[in-house]
């Protein structure tokens, strides 16, 4: 089965009002080129589930988002993502703010076909007060109350990987696959962007096969987008773009989304990459040191 398609073909499955799960973590390995293609589309009223960074910020700033399910939205070295912050403070988006681990459990429940997973997380905090649709349940085994973290089931997941073949076998060569495997399993339809396309024989090496964290029947579309995580990192190929993020922060906190669009977005990924200094420049960004 050949799943290789263009970004616009891959994203044509996304309709108004759908729930979109986005992989990566903060400024790390985000499917930003796919997000940019969404920004160029007419789609709206999305619910976004993410360990958020610029992906969540830009989609909110572009008015694509009705609701965000999140634990944080951060660029790490810039702790507060400017566009999400603006949208929140303006009351422009609804939110379901939950613990990082609750998000993991929700995706796992979605992936496993469970209605919920019981957990202690959230007890005693405003997470429960602010999310009345998260129920408390009794346990048949003790006298405590438990948080019933409901299943999260994105209609579509967007993920960015290091290498993939045309059948959707995906390698994440960086040090962490984050919750991408759970997004892929919980979603009804998974779109993967990849730095490199490889022949299926590439995966014969067992050390490479160990870096495949979900099976190809969890991936429905593959888009070849080298540099597609920019400005987030795509370890081990390139780091996140610190100067760009500083400019991004300035534009989105002071000048607004239209100014960012005018300076960077372009009518396609090639134009975007020209606006940020070219693919070779992206690929030479140093890896971050923590």
């Amino acid at each position: 089965m050949d799943k290789l398609v263009s970004a616009s073909e891959a994203l044509s499955v996304i309709e108004d009002g759908m729930t979109v799960g986005i992989g990566g973590w903060g400024p790390r390995r985000k499917p930003m080129a796919l997000v940019r293609e969404l920004l160029r589309s007419e789609v709206k009223d999305l619910t976004v589930i993410a360990y958020g960074g610029a992906d969540v910020g830009l989609l909110c700033a572009a008015g694509k988002v009705r609701r965000v399910i999140f634990a944080f939205v951060s660029l790490d070295f810039l702790p507060l993502e400017p566009a999400f912050r603006k949208a929140r403070q303006a009351g422009a988006v609804d939110v379901m703010e939950i613990d990082e681990g609750m998000l993991l459990l929700g995706l796992r429940a979605g992936a496993w076909g469970c209605p919920y997973i019981p957990t202690r997380i959230g007890l005693g905090t405003d997470v429960l007060k602010n999310a009345p649709d998260i129920a408390l349940v009794d346990s048949p085994y003790d006298d405590k109350e438990w948080v019933a973290m409901p299943a999260l089931r994105p209609d579509v997941a967007l993920l960015h990987v290091t290498r993939a073949d045309r059948r959707g076998v995906c390698e994440i060569a960086g040090p962490d696959h984050y919750m991408d495997d759970l997004f892929a399993r919980a979603a009804g339809h998974t779109v993967v962007s990849t730095e490199e396309m490889v022949d299926s024989t590439y995966f014969h090496d067992p050390t490479v096969a160990r870096r495949v964290f979900w099976e190809r029947n969890c991936t429905q579309a593959v888009v070849h987008l080298p540099g597609g995580a920019h400005p987030s990192s795509s370890d081990p190929l390139y780091g996140f773009d610190v100067p760009h993020f500083k400019r991004y922060n300035q534009l989105l906190s002071e000048d607004g989304y239209a100014a960012w669009v005018a300076e960077f977005l372009g009518d396609g990924e090639a134009a975007y990459q020209d606006n940020v200094g070219g693919l070779a420049g992206i690929q030479s960004l140093p890896l971050p040191v923590y």
């Binding site: 999400f84 613990d99 681990g101 905090t125 405003d126 997470v127 109350e145 040191v289 923590y290």
Partner: protein, 268 residues
């Protein structure tokens, strides 16, 4: 001996972990991470620590001056999903910096203002605070002790559970919650006052109890043997140089004040 307030706070915070045994210690922010690293190198070599990315280390990385992650002392892979497996086991002690903390030891890093739909100031989000607070020991690091942080009422957004009887979940006792210490630029506190009241344990050199009270929005208990926070030792300061060769710790507190105010006043 000269030492900065940041160094005094780091050394005070590192003592929190001395008797913890084999737990995952997570210090969020440069000074808390230095405190955890110092403890791992001195009082408690059994501490487990990550590289803030995806590996557990058998020796802490320096917080400055590292060119890359290639030569670090990896122990095991520890991706973010796996962190939660360890967190939920309870074998962890986190040292984190809240934007607000209240009398119950509840904290806030999510947002300021009471509106959930449109907060006055959006901060980070609750991150892992709810899960951390109900799963394992937690301590707090406050670089600027003030009534803005030590709020009069409850935190605007209660991100972590504390010793609040009104919020105690069914089937839980207050003793099931484990909020340990708060280290600030004025003092060290714990929650061993009557009914888990926040309590001043030691004052930094030159700080008065009144100053602590003036900068706290609620009543504090005072430890019977209220003492002065112990100054850093020479070996500790040498280790801090090794763990932070670029002296980034000097840039964490405004104007990098000295650790002993009385020495500042008597200086020529």
């Amino acid at each position: 001996m000269n030492f900065s307030l940041a160094e005094l706070m780091v050394c005070a915070a590192s003592r929190i972990f001395a008797d913890e045994g084999e737990v995952l210690v997570t210090g969020i922010g440069l000074l808390p991470r230095l405190a955890a690293s110092l403890a791992m190198r001195t009082s408690n070599p059994d501490i487990m620590m990550t590289d803030s990315q995806s590996f557990m280390l058998s020796k802490p990385n320096p917080v400055s001056g590292m060119a890359n992650h290639e030569a670090q002392a990896n122990e095991n892979w520890m991706g973010f999903a796996r962190i939660f497996d360890n967190v939920w086991s309870g074998h962890r002690h986190a040292l984190v910096g809240p934007s607000q903390i209240d009398r119950y030891g509840q904290s806030n890093i999510s947002a300021l203002g009471r509106s959930y739909q449109a907060p006055k100031v959006q901060l980070l989000g609750v991150r892992g605070f709810p899960g951390n607070s109900i799963s394992h020991a937690n301590s707090f690091f406050v670089p600027a002790h003030s009534r803005r942080v030590f709020v009069e009422g409850e935190c605007d957004v209660v991100c972590s559970i504390g010793y609040n009887p009104g919020r105690l979940p069914r089937g839980y006792r207050l003793a099931d919650i484990d909020i340990r210490n708060v280290v600030t630029d004025l003092c060290v506190l714990d929650f061993l006052g009557p009914s888990h009241q926040m309590r001043v344990v030691s004052l930094h050199p030159g700080v008065s109890l009144d100053e602590v009270r003036d900068n706290t929005g609620f009543e504090l208990a005072v430890a019977e043997g209220l003492s002065e926070t112990a100054p850093p030792t020479e070996p500790q300061l040498l280790l801090l140089d090794e763990l932070d060769p670029l002296d980034l710790r000097a840039r964490q507190l405004k104007n990098n004040p000295p650790g002993n105010r009385t020495m500042e006043e008597s200086a020529p």
